[in-house]
Symmetry: C2
């Protein structure tokens, strides 16, 4: 039995602990016991906050999805030429991935067995499809190179952006706001994806 | 007890089965029992071919690494301007990833606890560093855009290439040689990474 600490958790702070455990052990490999130990409170205290681990997963995935879908509602994602909207969405997707790192990491790793996992994968696909739609329009405008298939370009673009979760770690002391390092990463993604590495 | 079939495995064909199981269950999650069941031969038959699962891992990782390091020995990787060598290495890395898909997938997923896993990660880092060296030289030649950090560009480049393992599946009936689909993917990687998606 671990020393139980007084339960001073808010839904947000409990979620932060749960997401860390999910990312480390995998969602399937995480039990309520693991969550209880990581949080330092009893299982019944956890049940005081949420119905169980699937609700924690749903809350965590929602946070990632709210961040991502919120991008598509920004003025710069809705107005102007498709290529510029796409470029904005690319930069912001990289930024949201870094500011919401553990939540988006979880979203990207989910492989669905439960309803919540299947819903997460479905919503993620919807986001990808909306971005693919922007690529299609940019191609129709003649602003996107015509010798790369739109479906393939979408996959490679997300492949590049999503790979950031493998190595990006926020700088200590800069939590809560986008640090310079994160800005540099987002800018590098946009430059590489849209203008390429080679000087012309 | 499963029906044991006659052991007609070669080291290569046994390796192909093992790699599939490793990729599905994870190396840590795979027991000799799992391998025996997947191969349809007894554990002692497997021991007739190899000393154990770590040797199978070493053989599989070696195959991926031989493919990757072989690229760096190709004339087009050794002669000419650094930017052109880098572009060749990028295309060929994507190609090797697709022709050796299960082996490179395993290499990319390995997280080291055993000596073999640590060796795999070390060798992978060496490959990445040799490619980073090419980026540095291309930057010194003025052929690489100067507003993207070399370390960051290397990470994003590999992020894009390595993401191919998440969705690429060779077309049926085209095994054993690079199919058109694979050529198209490798070409798209090169175009996006070096020239960018946007028409100028």
């Amino acid at each position: 039995m671990t020393m139980a600490k007084r339960d001073t958790y808010t839904p947000e702070s409990l979620l932060a602990v749960a997401v860390e455990v999910f990312n480390e052990r995998g969602y399937d490999g995480t039990s309520m016991e693991h969550l209880s130990r990581a949080a330092g409170i009893s299982k019944s205290s956890i049940y005081h906050h949420v119905r169980g681990k699937e609700e924690l997963l749903r809350l965590a995935i929602s946070r990632a999805l709210d961040g991502l879908f919120g991008i598509l509602e920004e003025p710069a994602a809705k107005q102007g030429r498709a290529i510029d909207r796409l470029q904005h969405v690319t930069r912001r997707t990289a930024e949201v991935l870094m500011t919401e790192l553990p939540y988006v990491t979880l979203l990207l790793r989910v492989r669905g067995n439960t309803d919540t996992e299947r819903w997460a994968m479905e919503r993620r696909r919807e986001f990808d499809q909306q971005v693919a739609e922007l690529l299609k329009r940019a191609a129709a405008d003649g602003d996107l190179r015509s010798d790369v298939d739109v479906r393939l370009a979408t996959r490679l673009l997300f492949g590049m952006i999503n790979s950031i979760v493998e190595w990006y770690r926020p700088q200590a002391g800069h939590e809560g706001h986008q640090d310079e390092d994160g800005d540099e990463v987002a800018e590098a993604v946009v430059r590489m994806a849209f203008a390429g590495l080679r000087t012309s």
